[in-house]
Amino acid sequence: MIGIIDYGVGNLFSLKSSFSEVGAEAFVSGNPEQLATADRLILPGVGAFGDAANKLRQSGLDRFVLDQAAAGKPLMGICLGMQLLFEDSYEYGHYQGLGLLKGSVVPMEGALPEGLKIPHIGWNSLHKVNPHSKLLANVEEGEFVYFVHSFYASGCDESLAATTEYGLNITAAVEKGNIFGCQFHPEKSGKVGLKILRSFASERR
């Protein structure tokens, strides 16, 4: 059973339906006691980092996520949810993240070569950096997934599982022990996205 963490950020309808499409039961909840019964957790998120980090903190779900991660429960962050796994973010200010992964979230503006539009919106190809990634076990080099973002995680350590090229190599997927993350939206990435969600739903350590 997969618990999708609801902390008031974004629409979780597609995420829930896409898990059901791959035959994995999922529920949406903001209640830590209920979420604790899940054997895997999804940390979703759209919008601004500062806002989301505050909401997570105010609801007390930040502690819950950290405790569950420390206990070894598989956790996957999606889009802004992936960014929250890192140490901090420089999105319109400076905010602390969960610190489960090493690295910082920084703006594309100023980092990309001229002529590239921000946000990075659309289908872009994955370059696998970690050939042993469980999340990407069924994904071929160069397959396409759907991105929408203006900030990206930089300074990743060995957690970096895949990148995508948009003027520079952008962190696309991360994986370290029981911690997983996708900058793109697997629930909006057609068959490739569904393969990734299926891998997360069934990975064994």
Binding site: I121, G122, E165, S189
Partner: protein, 252 residues
């Protein structure tokens, strides 16, 4: 490398897909859920659903259809038509839409784009503009292309992007339904004015028209069309193969 997107647009009335030629003479095509699924399985990068229903009952029917679509199709979904308030945004986002397209609603209430971008993020707000040449300038038209607003189109688009529109759909009334190619002159003017993704619409009649669009204007991010796809004149997978042969990056 980021790819060019091909986006079929489904106009929905009373639960069925329709497409007008020059915005008149609607013709029934198919079921929105079946057609959406077909496109998603056959290379569409994104889907746009336009609600052209006026009645409350039609609107409820549209919501049901949208919910069905969103639970079976896992590519980005944009919804437009009758979006006049934040409540309308909420209504379609709750049915599973990822982006919301505003047109006449933004003309009536210019604060709508800014308010929606603040609440749901820029990536959620798509400005759709119906544009026609009048006395040598690009004019914004409202109400499905029937009413001249008197506003100059490029400054209108710039203003909406400054307020937070994350993407712009440029629909040329001059070329729409004529199938003689997209309006490159109009599209170039918009691309030169804004930094957000630009989606070209109106006038595609063949795969060559899309090849020409992306070859001549590499700044354009996506091509949107309806009847050429619905009636099978252009098959999306074949179109993408042809684009790739012409060194235009696509997802295949």
């Amino acid at each position: 490398m980021i790819t060019k997107r091909i986006i079929p647009c489904l106009d929905v009335k009373d639960g069925r897909v329709v497409k007008g030629v020059n915005f008149q003479g609607l013709q029934d095509v198919s079921s929105p859920v079946d057609l959406g699924k077909y496109y998603s399985d056959n290379g569409a990068d994104e889907l746009v659903f336009y609600d052209i229903t006026a009645s409350n009952e039609g609107r409820r029917l549209f919501a049901d259809i949208l919910t069905q679509v969103a639970s079976t199709i896992f590519i980005p979904l944009t919804v437009g038509g009758g979006i006049n308030s934040l409540d309308d945004f909420e209504r379609v986002l709750n049915c599973g839409a990822d982006k919301v397209s505003v047109n006449s609603g933004a003309i009536r209430n210019p604060d709508l784009v800014g308010a929606a971008a603040k609440k749901y993020g820029d990536q959620c707000v798509v400005l759709s503009a119906d544009i026609k040449r009048v006395n040598g300038e690009f004019r914004v038209f409202a109400k499905g292309g029937r009413e001249d607003t008197g506003m100059e189109a490029i400054s209108w688009i710039k203003r909406c992007v400054d307020n937070g529109a994350g993407e712009v759909v440029v629909n040329s009334i001059d070329t729409d339904g004529v199938k003689q190619g997209l309006d490159l002159e109009m599209l170039e003017a918009v691309c030169n004015a804004v930094q957000v993704p630009v989606i070209a619409s109106g006038g595609a009649g063949s795969a060559e028209d899309f090849v020409k669009l992306f070859s001549r204007l590499p700044q354009v991010d996506a091509g949107l069309a309806a009847s050429v796809f619905h009636f099978g004149q252009v098959n999306i997978t074949e179109l993408k193969k042809q684009l790739r042969q012409n060194n235009i990056p696509v997802r295949l």
